[in-house]
């Protein structure tokens, strides 16, 4: 089921992000992912903070672990942990580091931070869930600059050949890749056999439609374009 909060909504997220001080260098990274993560947790993911070990839950993999303030704000708003925990962001004994740790933060599926790891793990999750005939889906958030990492190309190519239609990548594109993507990011995925689309990364309705679209027999890539980092 999709978890809904009786009290906290999208309008509260900036305030929750502001409770997390100390990693301002990653603020652009955090704000670029805010709408995508909110839409996923608010209307797409079948997750429940009270059943975070449900084997058939959807998985959200934050591969681009930089600037997790938006991620933590959404998780707190959705009840995965107490709002007060946000104030401990980055403290020595806090569960909330500048990069998330699945062993410390309820609801976090992978520990990330070093770029180029999440998509490979997400492919493994998708293969595992498919082998178990689970209805669960795997959503993996990557950044456009993160896709420079060669490990992502291994994962994109293989996932296309394997027809992993329970895998959905959302590539948040704030045009921070040093050399860009000729033809656009969506073309990169399409070339490898993915269903792909490009949407406004701030348009919640458009994001929802992009995630809901059919993509039988193929993994799905949603390129969510947001304002440029610079």
């Amino acid at each position: 089921m999709t978890v809904t909060s009786p009290t906290l909504g999208y309008a509260d997220l900036r305030r929750l992000m502001d409770l997390q001080l100390g990693d301002e260098k990653h603020t652009p990274s955090a704000t670029s992912t805010l709408d995508v993560i909110w839409v996923l947790y608010d209307r797409v993911l079948r997750v429940d903070p009270n059943r975070s070990d449900d084997p058939d839950r959807d998985r959200f993999v934050l591969s681009k672990g930089h600037g997790p303030m938006a991620y933590y704000a959404v998780l707190a708003a959705k009840g995965f942990f107490d709002l007060e925990t946000l104030r401990s962001f980055g403290h020595y004994d806090s569960p909330l580091g500048y990069h998330p740790d699945r062993n410390l933060v309820p609801g976090v599926e992978i520990s990330s931070g070093s770029l180029g790891h999440g998509l490979g793990i997400a492919v493994g999750m998708a293969l595992g869930l498919r082998a178990r005939r689970s209805p669960a889906r795997v959503f993996c958030l990557v950044g456009d600059a993160e896709l420079d990492e060669g490990s992502n190309h291994e994962a994109i190519a293989f996932a296309g050949r394997a027809g992993l239609d329970n895998l959905i990548v959302v590539a948040v594109d704030n045009q921070s890749s040093s050399y860009g993507w000729p033809g656009g990011l969506a073309a990169r995925f399409s070339l490898e056999g993915w269903s792909s689309t490009t949407v406004d990364g701030r348009d919640h309705a458009a994001l929802g439609r992009a995630f809901d679209a059919e993509h039988v027999g193929r993994p799905r890539a949603v390129v969510a374009v947001v304002e440029s980092k610079t």
């Binding site: 790891h117 490979g120 793990i121 492919v123 082998a131 060669g150 291994e154």
Partner: protein
């Protein structure tokens, strides 16, 4: 000719996949086609990702996170060195298990040159916390260790080699095996170097311990079996890989360590593992010379 460690691995992995629906095998081309029955019957759990070793380890982590017990397999440089950060983060930092099974050992593929020579593999994995590192010396031991690993969720490195001892020992995972008692020194022989070590010390009055579990190091058995103040480590990979473990085990005991292994230099040689063993003093003659030299310095 009897089956090699590698042959036994494929047949046992195939059996495990058939018997236990938690077992999955992840390959990066190496080994593909060697488990045909399992590849046909369990295509969803015998996965060849192509020549993509970073993905191979990432996929294993994802499989572990969805309830599987993955076995990752390739040549040592491609199973350990190429995807090392994936071993560190995707498996260790995320705290999920896998069994990494390598072939090629230090110099099994020596004729291929430096790209396929990996005497650093054990030292690299020993730098990561919590890994169990197995270096068997016989196909039967390798088989025993693989089956034991499959029953756990540990992070395991199983290092297979072409070189093998004549006889398997009744080893126990995590323990040094007492091969022989003596009075003048303690020699720890690792995996496939046991036969050469026994030949080298045949007329010497030394204790010989046989090590197939390199990590965690069995400090208890070493302390209980210690003979004299000289400990000789005989390891088929970088010399001194286990010296710090011995030093910590004997921190309150006066002792000396002689570390025999592969020197950490660029060798730029091809040939065979036998030639490399001879060149690095890892045949019986070389091991004996080093042990006699260390014994002669005893006070």
């Amino acid at each position: 000719m009897s089956a090699t460690m590698r042959d036994r691995f494929y047949s046992t992995a195939e059996e495990l996949v058939g018997a236990d629906e938690r077992i999955a095998v992840v390959l990066a081309d190496i080994g593909s086609g060697r488990m045909p029955a399992a590849e046909r019957a369990h295509a969803d759990r015998v996965i060849n990702v192509g020549i993509r070793e970073q993905l191979m380890v990432g996929v294993a982590a994802g499989l572990a996170m969805t309830g599987f017990r993955p076995i990752v397999h390739s040549y040592a440089p491609f199973a350990v060195e190429r995807p090392f950060e994936m071993l560190k983060l995707d498996l260790s930092h995320n705290d999920v298990g896998a069994i990494v099974v390598s072939v090629g050992a230090s110099f099994d593929a020596a004729a291929n040159g430096r790209t396929h020579q990996t005497p650093e593999d054990v030292a690299l994995l020993a730098a990561l916390p919590g890994w169990r590192i197995y270096v068997p010396g016989h196909p039967t031991e390798a088989d025993h260790l693989l089956r034991a690993a499959a029953r756990t969720d540990d992070r395991v490195y199983l290092r297979l080699s072409d070189q093998s001892n004549q006889l398997a020992r009744p080893i126990t995972s995590g323990r040094l095996h007492l091969e022989r008692r003596g009075r003048d020194a303690t020699v720890i022989a690792t995996g496939p170097l046991l036969d050469a070590t026994l030949e080298a010390t045949a007329d010497l009055d030394v204790t010989v311990l046989y090590m197939t579990t390199v990590r965690p190091f069995d400090a208890d058995t070493l302390r209980a079996s210690l003979t004299g103040d000289l400990v000789v480590l005989v390891e088929p990979y970088l010399a001194g890989t286990s010296s710090a473990e011995v030093a910590m085990a004997l921190a309150d005991e006066p002792h000396r360590i002689a570390a025999i292994g592969v020197p950490n230099v660029e060798h730029r040689k091809y040939g065979t593992w036998r030639e490399h063993n001879a060149a690095h003093g890892l045949d019986a003659r070389g091991i004996r010379a080093r042990i006699l030299r260390a014994l002669s310095r005893m006070t």
